[in-house]
Symmetry: D2
Subunit: 335 residues, 4 copies
């Protein structure tokens, strides 16, 4: 039993806390949130201790490991603090909105052996992982093109959008990681374009985009296309397609149920897609806890590392620059 | 070039006439219909002669073969007449509503070598034939169960229903043939049940059904299930499923286009199914002309024979009896 | 928190014990199995008490309710005993292989208000329930035909087959309940046919079938077709189709993942179906515990009742008789 | 009856000749090919005259209109010559590999009223046209993103590749037109990237690519993504996806048959896709003849114009430049 404390009890932290509590090989050591009532609610519901401070979490002998689900700005500090006391970390993405801060954090923890795992949970989805497996097993031959379609069911509240760091750092970050996972090779070139179609005024104000396309290329010429939208009325659209010399593998969407309706003006109509990531990636979030426990207890490499988090951020920086300058950016010129 | 005359220029005869005219290895020798204006219209449109009588068709040296698409009551007489003058026949189903008449016809033509082909066109559908091929090639192992779903988009006019011979002889007849085609083995037992759900008053009046289920069994125990409805609002539903010891093959429906729509309350919505048999089995009807030409010119066995027509009618008779008596009927007790 | 004890810790009982333990509104009060080591293993793993006898379970003040997952022969006795001490029951199907025994049990408990829920878990599947909902909401109009395809991935060991009570009582029983659930109306006529195609010698020896088709009809003429096989190599095949005057609803199969493969000789190839009921109906089994807690704590009618269990058994008896006698059996002549 | 002569009787010209011959409102006036035996073969098979020269075609009073299916280098000259004698033209794409030549041609014919239709046949595909219709009818709201997946089943012979003009002018040209058709708005920005993955040596030698991605953007911010490969082992992959504020429409692939296979290691496996454009777009090619007849006889605007051909070439030029220079190209800077 790995005793894990959860820092941050917003929507995602709460879900992680429940998954830890339900996991046969993990125990919820307690929770903390700077917003005390939120932590109290979770602590009472799950019948676990509520810590009074981050320091209390770090110091507690009842805490084997820490899951960081607090606001992005706190991630790097918490990682450094946890590493300093030797407690393994499972940290929600992104590590930080600033690549400099991430690089500084990397420098500080580079001599440590404390396991750090990044919450790029989609790698643990059975469909997306199945696409990766179709590649590594040779079933689709040499990989040529990857298409990642990733659209949120709706935009977050304006207040969140203002601090999100922009679509590339906040939303595409997951797809950058997915592209790296599927490509199996580092990206060398990034070309991005953004539009303001969903909420043009807000996007204009924030100098951000709500609809983007990013094309990535590796040294060997493999291409990955990411297309994002902040709002898909039919639900959370999450598809991954890998095309190769010997075939293709596609990870398809998940509808709310497996019912198909037929009527006078339609056939095979399925319900909307699962909405939103907590529902869609529910089994992957549960698997994430198991993978973290494995990494800590068996000393195996976490499936998603700090370096994966850093690389995804490099791609985000490159995409931002590319969209602004209207040209392809070489990743070696970033970071 | 096989010169084929068409007797009967109703909806189906007209389609056959056009297919013959367009076929690279067939020529339309002319048309005849007891309703003269109908034949005139087709003859003028396709620029072919209009015959003045059945006798003229039979006697014409310009006619190599005859396609019979006139009303059911004339089929057996016309087959006998064509055989008498040595002209090959492609006859629309059914041969006759009366099994006795069919048996008499069979007796009269049994010493002839004139090719006779029955219009069980569905055997030539690439999907249904693909299911059969999956069986004969061994891909699904030993066949265990067959499910044939066959629903018309709507009921024919009342006037037609009154002379149709009832659902089993008129509509299920195609599915009986399909069952025999897929089973690859004669049916020994028939259990049928009928309901009056679409047009109860009319069905009551005609002592007929609009919704039926028939279960067929062969000597070796293979089962085939046929389900029919006279009205499916989503279009012409034509599916064949074959289940075996090593797998399953399904021939799927054909929607009007390959467009899928996604909206706030549905995903993957396709348009209604092709409506009706002329659209759905269009390529099969064209292939039917080719198969007939082959049978006549190369002396090969037609893919659908007079005997196939007789066997399907035996199953229809058994089904009628079974639905009435509420018990399984042995086909050896029919005919 | 409803404290539930589990009697019977075989494969199904174990799964139920885990679901109870994980349920936010239920607690696992302990387990019992006549085979002590099996119960010990579960008790230790889930850290709950192991009861020494059925009597101890019945007498324990720590036990609010009982889940019966022991062998079929014990079900009726345990139900009666639980009712006698006022403890609500969630009982795996079937109640008993003998309709007489079930009727006797019904008579004994008929004056009791103790909630009894039957384990017809498929009613709680989101797909099948969605089909039912499409009917009750009027989306497909008046119901005309139901097709239930239900095939196990493989046959149980011979030893089990010998005590199973035969395919109709053991396997089709679930489909009889599903047919009643979807039809929303009692079945009046049953016509069944059976074949021996998967394991002919064993079936011959047991006077049983491995491949069956059952056609059910209600007083208003609605038809339901059930087709079963004891072995489908592609996995656990569980489909429900409801056809009505205004459309159709289909509950589709669940493949192991959502990956589709394309290669030189195939496209859109999905993996085999989830195998077996514990995987396929996993969310439904979890929902079953919740529904039981609701029924007990809120006094609502359980979604699957003792009477549902009795009616399904009547259909099984009718099917057995029909398959033997080759005729349609009226349910009013059974039981 | 519009009497159409076909110039060029290679694979495509032959197909057009057959379609014209079979069309109820068109007649094949004769054929010509610089390679005489090819024209002779088609003329004899279809029983039509063989012209001795282009001049003979242009001069013939038996020729109402001309279909140009000869080599690309002859297209512009033939268009100009046909316009000069007042004969309407249906010309295969592209008009020419040189934008300068196309512009010169445009200048020469700009005062003529002779109908010119370009062979961008995909616009007439029921699926792709259905996607367009979903947009114009408002069913998917404001259009935001378009994804066009277009992969050939295999590379043409090396000899053809050497004169093709490169992937953007030869293959993507169709997708550029499709993008314009679906977007319904001119493209202002083009960003392209190419890789050499299928036949690297040949591509290197020709300074061409076999795997490309192009991102297009309109003034209002609509995005279109095109991805091409010269070789897809599973067949001719032709998909169009349009994503908008109120939904999504997808035009799906066409498999060889509608059979789905299920076995021990796969489910729902369909056959490979129709291979190649003549099979896949067969109904669209037939519709193209009808649309051309309409345009000539009724004086309606052809659905695909000379200007459509010119605009597609502008996008190709922009893509070539973008792929070389690694930056976004504005279409206003081309041509």
């Amino acid at each position: 039993m790995l005793k894990i404390a959860v820092i941050g009890t917003g929507r995602i932290g709460r879900m992680h806390a429940e998954n830890i509590a339900a996991h046969p090989r993990a125990a919820l050591a307690g929770v903390y949130d700077i917003h005390t009532p939120s932590a109290t609610e979770v602590a009472e519901k799950l019948e676990v201790p509520q810590f009074e401070s981050v320091e209390a979490v770090l110091a507690s002998p009842e805490v084997d490991a820490i899951l960081i689900a607090s606001s992005t700005a706190t991630h790097a500090d918490l990682i450094e603090a946890a590493v300093a006391v030797g407690k393994p970390v499972l940290c929600e993405k992104p590590i930080d909105l600033s690549l400099d801060r991430v690089n500084a954090c990397a420098a500080r923890i580079k001599d440590s052996n404390v396991p750090i795992m990044l919450g790029f949970v989609r790698r643990l989805d059975s469909g997306h992982a199945g696409v990766r497996e179709a590649i590594t097993s040779g079933r689709i031959g040499d990989l040529h093109q990857v298409i990642i379609t990733s659209r949120d069911p709706d935009m977050a509240p304006d207040a969140y959008m203002e601090v999100s760091g922009g679509i590339f750092r906040d939303m595409t970050i997951h797809d950058f990681d997915m592209a790296r996972f599927i490509l199996g090779e580092e990206v060398t070139e990034v070309a991005a374009t953004g539009s303001r179609l969903v909420k043009p005024e807000l996007m204009e104000k924030l100098d951000d985009y709500d609809t983007v396309t990013v094309v990535l290329k590796t040294a060997s010429g493999k291409q990955a296309i990411i297309n994002n939208s902040r709002r898909a009325v039919y639900g959370y659209d999450q598809r991954v397609e890998a095309f190769g010399s010997a075939g293709m593998a596609i990870s398809e969407n998940h509808a709310m149920t497996k019912v198909r309706l037929f009527g006078a003006d339609h056939t095979e109509s399925a319900p909307p897609l699962l909405n939103f990531f907590i529902e869609r990636y529910d089994p992957a979030f549960a698997a994430e806890i198991g993978a973290f426990v494995d990494a800590v207890e068996q000393g195996t490499q976490p499936p998603m590392t700090f370096e994966d988090g850093r690389q995804a951020l490099i791609l985000a920086e490159a995409a931002i620059k590319s969209a602004k300058e209207g040209r392809t950016i070489l990743t070696k010129d970033i970071g």
